[in-house]
Symmetry: C2
Subunit: 365 residues, 2 copies
């Protein structure tokens, strides 16, 4: 088993302006390769913080601001999962940059800013699930530093089109995508196509469109993306989903197609994990879902995955993301995790390991 | 003297994705009125943090991540300025929400999230200097919570047009500005027009266009805004500038017109302060300014203000903002402050009080 290291740079789905969705991935234990990101709602600043706090140790407390301002991290993760506070394995190059000399020799002691930049430059590819601002804003604001280390940005044709027309348009942000050698190399990625990562050449990525509700004015479908990462060495796979709604709401078949694709192409024991949005706990009035998942929909979809494989989902890692930090008495992340665990037992889905994506933690899956 | 309380929600100008420019203003000591914001690169999340830490006291340390990961706040502020760590005077309503009961009576003890939202809802008007993402992104991401407490968003006609066409367009973000009663009331604000604040009816605001460099592709001028707040009771005034370049670079007269307007309309002792961008320290190659100010340009412009008034700028508060957190050995905020103080003495500008806008601090000016 190779597996994945998934570092959560951000896991929120608003309305807080910070810690928004962004995942950094590499093969477990790899000192050779850099990173791939899915979404870019958070970026460089969190990497600088992680560089500054690396090696401080401890599992730490998580800022909550609900019942208590801080909660123990154990409340958000499955107790049998391997989790690290901070970033995981460093590349040889980054490890070298992180090694503090005595400041007297020829070797310069790097600042936390420089160490964070070293990590940032190791992100070669950013897979965007959709163009809502909470998924792209760090990529845009961080862009002045990428000239020396260009990045590829991948997304559905429509996603790339929107980035060109409405973001890098010299109005919302300077146009950094035109000209001969733009710092961002925009790559359109068609549904069900495959792509071999530059940053991690063992990884094959497949792109699936998903439904993310309707536009406000024209009531037209809005599309988001799920990305499947497969390691060519042993087939270990990880599915990372963007914002989406259940087929039960969209009356489309996007998710059932993904579950069938997995069951047909990947043995269950090679599905190392699913990263799935669950923006809210169960709502009485589902007209306020706005193209998102609540716990009952996550459970309904996982039940379909179970049926597709024809067996319980024992040991599957499900990392829940994009939780909306609403005004409630209790931290919505804790409520959602409890609801998912209870409903999963009720439906007999198997011993799924549910966790919430918490900023600054690395999952080894 | 009434004066102003200016709370820095964010003072960075990138490339860090967090703590980006946003100022919250109210008349000094006012328990009656809410807030007005200039720019919205940071918002609700910082208010929740400020609610959680209110009353903890101490002047605190500032995260730096350069020479040291934390620096004493005194390194960033003029020693004679009145500064508070946290938010300033609360309205009577907010003070009531902040008062913790014993949790046993009828009165509910509010979470930090609820207290932060109470502050957020007291922001009635947001003045946008321009539409670059670092100045608007929190307003967009925070928007799901504004339905019960609508906000007016003001800007130059072009700024409002870009918000409609490229942000609230059902592609980058759901369209929350159309229909009969949209949560955002977009108001176009023409150059040199005046506007009476709803949130603070004593305040008259005047809007000045400024130059913010050229677009990348068409090499056309890009405009930003400076806002002048004048208190009708005693004429106390505060100028808050968006990103801009010196007239010496733009070959336009936007800033000289502002300096003349001030000198003609406002006695010097009523100019409580200037908030001015200074994105970088002095550069050898000014082709990399990209429509921004370096220290030598700030000094050059302040010298013109001195000439407009015909006397030294003794006691003037100049709060420097939008510093770019570049990769350097030393915190650029400390370098810039040192350069400004030295050059100001060299030029004989008078005893200006220079400070840097630091997130989470309130200036009483």
């Amino acid at each position: 088993m190779v597996g994945f290291e998934l570092t959560v740079l951000g896991g929120f789905g608003g309305p807080w302006d910070g810690g928004l969705q962004s995942f950094m991935l590499k093969p477990t234990g790899s000192q050779e390769y850099g990173y791939v990101c899915v979404d870019a709602g958070t970026g460089l600043k969190e990497l600088i913080r992680l560089a500054a706090t690396r090696g401080i140790g401890g599992k730490g407390m998580v800022t909550s601001y609900y019942e208590n301002d801080y909660e123990p991290v154990d409340r958000f993760h499955d107790s049998s999962c391997k989790i690290l506070c901070g970033i995981g394995t460093l590349s040889s190059k980054a490890a070298d940059a992180f090694e503090d000399g005595d400041g007297k020799g020829q070797r310069k002691v790097l600042t936390s800013v420089e160490k964070g930049l070293e990590l940032y430059h190791e992100i070669g590819e950013v897979f965007i699930t959709h163009c809502h601002l909470d998924h792209i804003m760090a990529m845009v604001v961080n862009s002045p530093v990428i000239y020396a280390h260009k990045k590829s940005v991948l997304g559905l044709p429509l996603t790339i089109e929107v980035l060109k027309e409405h973001v890098f348009n010299d109005k919302i942000w300077p146009n950094l995508v035109s000209g001969d050698e733009p710092p961002f190399n925009l790559i359109t990625f068609k549904p069900y196509e495959s792509y071999i990562c530059n940053s991690v050449p063992h990884w094959n990525v497949t792109c699936f469109p998903v439904s993310h509700g309707l536009t406000v004015v024209d009531r037209k479908p809005y599309y988001s993306t799920a990305y499947l990462f497969q390691d060519g060495r042993d087939g270990d796979s990880l599915l990372v989903c963007g914002d989406m709604e259940s087929d039960r709401i969209s009356n489309m078949s996007h998710l059932s197609e993904i579950w069938n694709y997995l069951a047909t192409n990947i043995p269950f024991e090679r599905v190392r994990g699913l990263v799935m949005e669950c923006s809210t706990m169960d709502l009485k009035d589902e007209s306020h879902l706005y193209g998102h998942m609540s716990t009952r929909h996550v459970i309904w979809e996982l039940n379909r995955l179970k049926k597709a494989y024809g067996k319980p989902l024992d040991g599957l890692n499900v990392i829940v993301t994009h939780i909306k930090m609403e005004s409630l008495d209790k931290d919505p992340r804790i409520i959602i995790l409890k609801e998912l665990r209870e409903k999963s037992i009720e439906k007999g889905l198997g011993a799924i390991k549910f966790s919430v994506a918490i900023q600054g933690y690395t999952h080894f899956i």
